[in-house]
Amino acid sequence: MITARELRKVYGSNCALDSVSLEVAGGECLALLGPNGAGKTTLLRILATLLRPTSGSLRVGDVDALRAPDRVRALIGMVAHGSHVYEDLTARENLRFWETLRSGDTAPARLLGALAQVELDGVADERVRTFSAGMKRRLGLARVLLGEARVLLLDEPFTGLDRRGRKWLNEFLLAFKARGGAAVVATHSFGGGLGVADRVAILGGGRLLLDRPAADLSPDALHRLYESLTDAIEGAP
């Protein structure tokens, strides 16, 4: 589903990403680990076609993302730091707005159905300003659900979620994978995301340091590997 080759992103003299290549197949979830500043968000934004790489190639769902970013956007759902919702609109109105822009199909049943899936149907007509951070995040996911995305890009989705929220998100990702979708979850904590990951990649200093099936590594081994790799980066000039 996602094929990235030799992605580089350079800002002036700062190299944010250096020759990053990876592949994520349908039904697979890639956990992208790395300390802050490693380039996870940059990579995710490039995969989402929000940022153009300085060089390299990217194909998503067999479409050249650099030539036809718009076609790729129809396949992608992204949940990033911002929840992509308007504070002064209700949950339902938010979905109505985004779905009109995306497809025009705003049948009330559909909107309510998406809200029900993220357990927000009870507050459908409350203004988002009254929501907690977790609820806003869930609304963002509802938006993505309506979008029928084939590729999900999540940037630190587990932050700010309580245990119940994490469990819910894990189940959501499992269901998404079961439908054949591909997911990339960027996280810097070992708490969330690893449960559903099929592959684990570690990004450090803009470079891909590791890319292995999750089954190969026990959580302890992974932890130790992560520490040593990131220490090496921090130690290096």
Binding site: Y11, G12, S13, R52
Partner: protein, 213 residues
């Protein structure tokens, strides 16, 4: 190649100086100060050439997304602002002894001043954006709008002047009656164009090197 262009420009400027001060006659009414026209008119023509290239580079960048076009637009924009500034200053210097004031709101000077402001804004925009692609795209949009706006500005200022006050102030360009004046003007114009081409090539080269670093 660029070097040769530079030397050619210097030669052209020397020829232009000679033509302006030696060959062309002393103007009857204004005296020697009129000779500043040989600087003023080629400056503004070169500025228009520059902004035309900004338009070209902007449209081409949006169509192809090739960085070279953005370098053209940015470099031409910088040099265009330079020559526009030169036009304004030389116009002002010409005006002081001729009309007694440093500045007047006559149609051409006003239009040129507006042009200057538009493209200074263009340069400011370029300077404030770090990401190369975003900078190129946004600058292209402003560059296109600024260029297409030029005739609109020209007409609005012209009508503003003629319909508000009868113009007792002569434009700083009496029609060249003497062919010698015309020739001197032409020589200087060519020299300025060569100088512009030299500056542009150098500036684009620097831009290209900056991007590679």
């Amino acid at each position: 190649m660029i070097r040769a262009l530079g030397w050619l420009a210097v030669l052209g400027l020397l020829a232009g100086l000679a033509a302006g001060f030696g060959y062309a006659p002393r103007e009857a009414v204004q005296g020697n100060v009129q000779r500043i026209m040989y600087l003023h008119v080629p400056s503004v023509l070169t500025a228009y050439l520059a902004f035309g290239l900004v338009l070209l580079g902007s449209v081409a960048y949006l169509a192809t997304r090739r960085a070279g076009w953005d370098r053209l637009a940015g470099s031409a924009g910088e040099i265009g602002v330079l020559f526009t500034g030169l036009t304004l200053v030389s116009g002002s210097i010409w005006g002081k002894p001729t009309w007694g004031t440093w500045w007047t709101w006559d149609a051409r000077l006003t239009s040129t001043a507006v042009l200057f402001l538009v493209y200074v804004g263009y340069l400011m925009l370029r300077q404030l954006i770090e990401d190369a692609d975003t900078r190129a795209r946004y600058a292209a949009v402003v560059g296109i709008l600024g260029a297409v706006n030029i005739p609109i500005v020209h007409f609005s200022v012209k009508w503003w002047r003629t319909l508000h006050q009868p113009s007792t102030i002569l434009g700083p360009e009496p029609a060249p009656i003497d062919p010698a004046i015309g020739i001197a003007l032409l020589v200087n114009w060519i020299a300025f164009t060569l100088l512009f081409a030299y500056f542009l090539s150098r500036r684009m080269e620097i831009a290209r090197l900056e991007e590679q670093a």
